[in-house]
């Protein structure tokens, strides 16, 4: 076990990579970066990728409104129907609703996801967005970038870069989903998604 890693007595099968404070700091920085890059947020829309990305996008929306005292529009995207492995998966992914209550066209859309890994989810999300309109720009914000890209995709905003082995399991736990806020590396592969 390396020096950086911390084990948590409450979660014995995990190495905690980010705790709740670190997550909040990273998200606050991302919110500032989004505002800086786009010179405010009047033409910005946040779109969270289900499920984890949606909650992170909600938090970013709140942070942005605290910093800038303006509201940024928020949508939710389900990418199941756009997956490239739809026909290959053993389990049927559960379909959820896509809910984007604003016109994408001419907005700068910030896609929000929890973990950036192969890039295939982001490819699917971009296709999904394009079917809904013609955004002026698509940017990508992720809490964790764990490498191992299979497509030429790069995030504009990253909470933390974490070097990982391909078979490692990185999970983002969120209060909104009934967990204590943290990012962890699972030691047993028992919880593989």
């Amino acid at each position: 076990m390396n020096v950086m890693s911390r084990t948590n007595s409450k979660h014995p099968h995990e190495t905690v990579i980010m705790d709740s404070h670190e997550m909040t700091r990273a998200l606050t920085r991302i919110a500032h970066e989004i505002l800086e890059r786009n010179k405010g947020c009047h033409d910005v829309g946040l779109v969270g990728i289900r499920t984890g990305g949606v909650h992170l996008a909600q938090r970013l929306k709140q942070l942005v409104s605290q910093i800038e005292q303006t509201e940024v529009v928020l949508g939710e995207l389900d990418i199941t129907l756009y997956r490239d492995d739809l026909a290959l998966r053993k389990n049927q992914p559960v379909l959820k609703k896509t809910d984007i209550p604003f016109h994408l066209s001419d907005l700068k859309i910030v896609l929000v996801d929890d973990v950036l890994f192969t890039g295939r989810t982001i490819r699917a999300a971009m296709d999904g967005l394009m079917d809904l309109g013609r955004p002026a720009e698509i940017q990508l914000a992720v809490l964790i970038d764990r490498g191992h890209r299979q497509l030429p995709i790069r995030a504009n905003y990253v909470g933390k870069n974490i070097p990982t082995a391909k078979d490692e399991n990185i999970r983002v736990f969120l209060e909104e989903l009934g967990e204590e806020d943290r990012v962890a590396k699972l030691i047993n592969a028992e919880n593989t998604a």
Binding site: L81, Y82, L86, A87, R89, K96, G128, L132, G133
Partner: protein, 306 residues
């Protein structure tokens, strides 16, 4: 849970959970149909064949739109312009379609059990789009989705199904669907249009519409199949309309927020009065809209089977 079946032949063999899964899978597709670009790539490269041996506009169009909005390729076979008129059997027709590598076959046929025979003899997923007097499962699922949307849930609702129950596959599928989801179902019609032993399906049988409609939450009107009138199930259409037609006076007897449903095509002025079709209680067009979503959800689930 996941959907394990290869085919959808009827609702009688389905569990409550399986029906709920189809409804849950249908709901996200309503958003897709509301988009400017009404298409998602979920069934890209798959082939859906519509094989309809009976005339149908609504159901065939609904299946065709559902498949196209999932990006599948769709072929429509109609018997008058195919080798069926040359004497080919149903099974041979289906085998030929199968060996053209179709993935989903949608069948409407006048014989009960036709879809089941093809399902047993084919690798394709078969969807029953109506077989004789047997079942029309996707219609009943569209009705369930409509009720669920408007009422929040199906359990404990009082539902009346009115008309020629004996000759109605819609009625049979709806009875299975509604009773399994926990609704209280009563069927209404003249004795000549009621099959024997209907009570075994867990429904109450009424012959007096005015009594039966009292306090119900949903009324499903069946189409009077005018083409069957030669069989003298009833003295005259006028008498049928007077005794079993849904008028606004009868609607008053039902619950205040009653839903009026009809699988179409509507015979205005026969089983249902003009002003009722156009009233706020009628959700007939919602049923049509939900039909596309249900068929998309179903084809998505069937295509996910490995």
């Amino acid at each position: 849970m996941s959907f394990k079946r290869k085919d959808l032949l009827g609702l009688a063999p389905l569990s409550q959970e399986e029906m709920a899964l189809i409804l849950d899978s249908a709901e996200p597709f309503k958003e897709v149909s509301g988009r400017e670009i009404k298409k998602v790539p979920a069934l890209r490269g798959r082939t859906v064949v519509n094989l309809f041996f009976e005339p149908s506009t609504r159901t065939r169009t609904s299946f065709e739109l559902a498949a196209k909005r999932l990006s599948a390729d769709v072929v429509n076979f109609s018997p008058s312009s195919s080798s069926v008129v040359k004497g080919e059997t149903l099974l041979d027709t289906a085998r030929n379609i199968e060996f053209m590598q179709a993935d989903i076959l949608v069948l409407r046929h006048s014989s009960a059990g036709a879809a089941e025979i093809l399902a047993k003899n084919s690798r394709m997923s078969v969807i029953n789009a109506g077989d004789g007097w047997h079942e029309h499962p996707t219609q009943a699922l569209s009705d369930l989705l409509t009720i669920k949307e408007k009422k929040g849930q199906v359990r404990d609702l009082h539902v009346a199904i009115v008309g020629d129950v004996a000759h109605s596959r819609v009625a049979r599928s709806n009875i299975h669907a509604l009773t399994k989801m926990g609704a209280n179902v009563r069927v209404v019609g003249p004795p000549t249009m009621m099959p024997l032993f209907l009570h075994r399906l867990g429904v109450e049988v009424y012959h007096d519409f005015d009594k039966a409609i009292a306090g119900v939450d949903v009324v499903i009107m069946l189409r009077l199949q005018l083409e069957r009138q030669g069989r003298s199930l009833f003295p005259s259409i006028r008498e049928y309309a007077r005794l079993y037609g849904l008028t606004s006076e009868r609607v008053q007897r039902a619950a205040k927020d009653v839903l009026v449903m009809h699988p179409g095509p509507v015979n205005r002025g026969v089983e249902i009065a003009h002003d009722v079709v156009d009233s706020g209680s009628a959700v007939i067009l919602d049923q049509v809209a939900n039909g596309v979503a249900v068929r998309m959800g179903l084809m998505y689930l069937l295509s996910q089977r490995n």
